[in-house]
């Protein structure tokens, strides 16, 4: 043995190696329920989403109700959109807005959300933080609080980055009755803006369409616009957001629920020129594409102008317009009148191959 290769003997005995500190990515340990989960909750979730309810730190949140009159609206939705971040939004904003909007469609005032996260091992912490920040901003905008949450981590390949389930709760003020079964012959059908933006924005963000555009997702919380609308025009019969399946599928559902037919004027339906062009290239129909920040309003025809006036004052309703009417003939049908004077029947979405959009 040569002099230079001699190493002094370690006289301290066996030493436990200090574990690596995992801060850059999500690892399995973050879902263990132990100290790493606690770190994640404190450093990420509490930092951005913290409020008095979350800080209770118990198994369930305890919420004092100021008003116990009226009814409770509850909704839940799981979000699996790919990619996680796309032009105009991300899975965090979507998870808040999707559930807030569902609750608001009953005329309820959404107040509380829960959020369950399924994270894939290896998810960059920066991505998670960006999504959580975005959720916080959407909650702030909608005026809701996340009062309970859960995090699980699954092995790489068992999920796709991040899945989020949210549930939402809101009180329906006494006397307010809205629902898909309440459309009446003689009602007008309004839409709050352009159709198909979200569907195309998400498709394009996947990068395999072979073209680029400036199309942005419309994902937005609509509850404040709805509150303003219902205060000014309490006569509204139906509110619905045309998400998956698009305008056509949603109206078909309403026509079936209410046993009416809905007649649309194709020329009146707002679609952005670049969305229409993308649809023409891909063989899609914008009436079947998903929206995440649009509102269908069905109400007595003589209230339509007043409703449009209110919607036009809201940033998410600037392009609101009347697109059709409700009739009692041919129940369950949605008929589209084309600019050529012809009519075609709109059915539910069937079999279009679209990526995960919400």
């Amino acid at each position: 043995m040569s002099e230079s290769s001699f190493k002094p003997i370690n006289m301290q005995g066996p030493v436990c190696p200090v574990p690596h500190h995992h801060t850059g990515t999500v690892v399995i340990g973050h879902g263990s329920g132990g100290a790493m989960t606690r770190d994640l909750i404190c450093n990420v979730f509490q930092t951005y989403l913290g409020n008095a309810y979350l800080e209770q730190g118990n198994d369930a949140a305890r919420i004092g109700l100021q008003s116990t009159s009226g009814e409770l609206a509850v909704s839940t939705d799981s979000h699996v959109v790919f990619p996680i971040i796309y032009p105009g939004g991300d899975i965090g904003r979507l998870a808040v807005c999707g559930t807030v909007n569902d609750v608001a469609m009953l005329g309820a005032e959404p107040a509380f959300l829960t959020a369950g996260f399924i994270l894939e091992e290896g998810l960059p912490m920066d991505t998670l933080i960006r999504v959580i920040e975005s959720m916080a901003a959407a909650c702030e905008e909608a005026g809701v609080q996340i009062v309970a949450g859960d995090t699980k981590v699954v092995e790489k390949g068992k999920a796709d980055g991040i899945f989020i389930n949210t549930a939402g709760f809101g009180l329906i003020p006494p006397g307010r009755h809205l629902g898909g079964q309440l459309a009446q012959p003689g009602d007008a059908v309004l839409i709050s803006g352009t159709l198909g933006d979200h569907g195309i924005a998400v498709l394009q963000a996947r990068g395999d369409l072979g073209f680029e555009s400036n199309i942005q997702s419309d994902v937005a919380p609509l509850n404040k616009m709805i509150t303003a609308l219902l205060e000014a025009v309490p006569e509204v019969h139906v509110l619905r957001d045309p998400t998956r399946g698009g305008l056509a599928t949603t109206l078909k559902e309403i026509a079936c629920q209410s046993q009416v037919s809905i007649h649309l004027e194709e020329e009146a339906i707002p679609v952005k020129p670049d969305v229409q062009t993308a649809c023409d290239m891909l063989g899609f129909d914008p009436l079947y594409l998903a929206n995440e920040g649009k509102l269908i309003v069905i109400l007595p025809e003589d209230k339509a102008d007043k409703a449009l006036e209110v919607l036009h004052k809201n940033p998410y309703g600037l392009l609101a317009t009347c697109i059709g009417s409700v009739f009692d003939t041919n129940p369950e049908q949605v008929l589209l009148k084309t600019p050529y004077g012809t009519t075609r029947i709109l059915d539910m979405l069937s079999g279009e191959i679209l990526p995960r959009i919400c």
């Binding site: 395999d208 369409l209 072979g210 073209f211 555009s213 020129p273 670049d274 229409q276 062009t277 023409d280 891909l282 063989g283 008929l335 084309t338 600019p339 050529y340 004077g341 012809t342 009519t343 075609r344 029947i345 709109l346 059915d347 069937s350 079999g351 191959i353």
Partner: protein, 368 residues
């Protein structure tokens, strides 16, 4: 995207212009005529805009066999399914093909049971996947008419250039002129005039058509896909019929030239050669498909995978064959809209958006 695009579209969708041409058709027609639009894209547009409702009743439009998904033979689909089931394969396809029923299952069910089936928007995406996955065999289902054939040929040439030995195609391209021959030569033929498929002609030109028009005394107009293109093509064909004139006219001159795209044609001739092909619901039509030239045989997926053990079985109720030959309308099928819907298709024409049955179903021609 350019600023002009929407104007271009609204121009060719302009209701006023369309109505002017329709009025001219009404003035021109004096007796019944039966026309066939070859291309499924045209069928779809006619149904989408409801143009069939606006034509004078003398004019009957019969929907042609021009939906590539619909005419792809059951044998080819079963071959695709067998290849896609192989564990070392990533099977790539246009989305439409995933729901087309084979004898026992479809590509979706292969994917659900663990097979790797991916939707691509272009065969070049499949080449990309091949370059990224050297340990896998990537197979592209090369369906379509002359319109998609150049991109399929390009994928073969590109993978040769990149030295990829893990890329192949399942050649399934079909050709329009032999199908026209088959339809016109049939004893049950009712077609008196053709709307030739505009985008096929964009690639191939229309130099192949005058001899066919002459042989069967059937006038044709090369026709596009927007409402104004379609009514213009119908007007030109009806004018020729009323005048007793047999010719091939070009109603889609903003896209199509007589000679077509010579570069694409040269590439097609280099990679492909015409072979006999079985059309689903019709029959085998001589020299009606593209197979690979000898020099490119190694890119033929059927050379790499043994697909000989296939037993095919068609649905007994489905009348797709008669629909594709223009003998029956989709709504005349006993299964239409009941047993057979886009969710539960019995035949391929109910699957693709270009399929006549799907177009009828989707645009509300449930009963006529």
């Amino acid at each position: 995207m350019t600023e002009q695009t929407p104007d271009f579209l609204s121009g060719y969708r302009n209701a006023k212009l369309v109505k002017t041409v329709l009025a001219e058709i009404r003035q021109t027609v004096t007796q019944p005529w039966t026309l066939m639009e070859i291309c499924g894209g045209q069928t779809h547009a006619i149904m989408q805009y409801g143009l069939d409702q606006l034509l004078p009743e003398e004019i009957e439009l019969v929907h042609g066999p021009g939906c590539p998904v619909c005419v792809t033979s059951l044998e080819l689909i079963d071959q695709a399914l067998m290849i896609a089931r192989q564990p070392e394969v990533i099977f790539t396809s246009f989305g439409d093909m995933l729901r087309v029923p084979g004898s026992t299952e479809d590509l979706f069910s292969i994917r659900a049971s663990g097979g790797q089936v991916r939707v691509v928007y272009s065969p070049m995406d499949a080449v990309k996947i091949a370059a990224q996955n050297p340990e896998k065999q990537i197979v592209f289902f090369a369906i379509g008419f002359e319109t998609t054939a150049p991109a399929n040929a390009m994928a073969v040439l590109q993978s040769e250039k990149m030295g990829l030995d893990n890329f192949s195609i399942l050649p399934a391209n079909v050709l329009v002129p032999p199908a026209m021959h088959a339809i016109l030569a049939s004893p049950s033929n009712r077609i008196q005039g053709f709307l030739a498929a505009g985008h096929v002609c964009a690639v191939m030109g229309y130099w192949e058509y005058p001899p066919i028009a002459e042989q069967y005394q059937t006038p044709m107009a090369v026709t596009g896909f927007e409402p104004l293109d379609l009514v213009e093509g119908i007007l030109q064909t009806v004018k020729m019929l009323e005048e007793g004139r047999v010719a091939v006219e070009n109603a889609y001159s903003r896209v199509v030239t007589y000679g077509g795209n010579k570069v694409a044609q040269a590439m097609l001739a280099k990679v492909f050669k015409p072979v006999d092909r079985n059309w689903r619901g019709i029959s085998t039509i001589p020299l009606s498909g593209y197979g690979l030239q000898q020099a490119y045989q190694r890119f033929d997926a059927t050379q790499r995978f043994d697909t000989s053990d296939i037993k095919t079985e068609e649905s007994k109720v489905c009348i797709a064959g008669q629909v594709l030959r223009g003998i029956k309308k989709p709504s005349e099928c006993p299964a239409f809209g009941t047993l057979c819907t886009p969710q539960t298709p019995l035949g391929a024409p109910m699957v693709s958006s270009e399929g006549a049955c799907a177009a009828y179903y989707r645009y509300g021609r449930k009963s006529t």
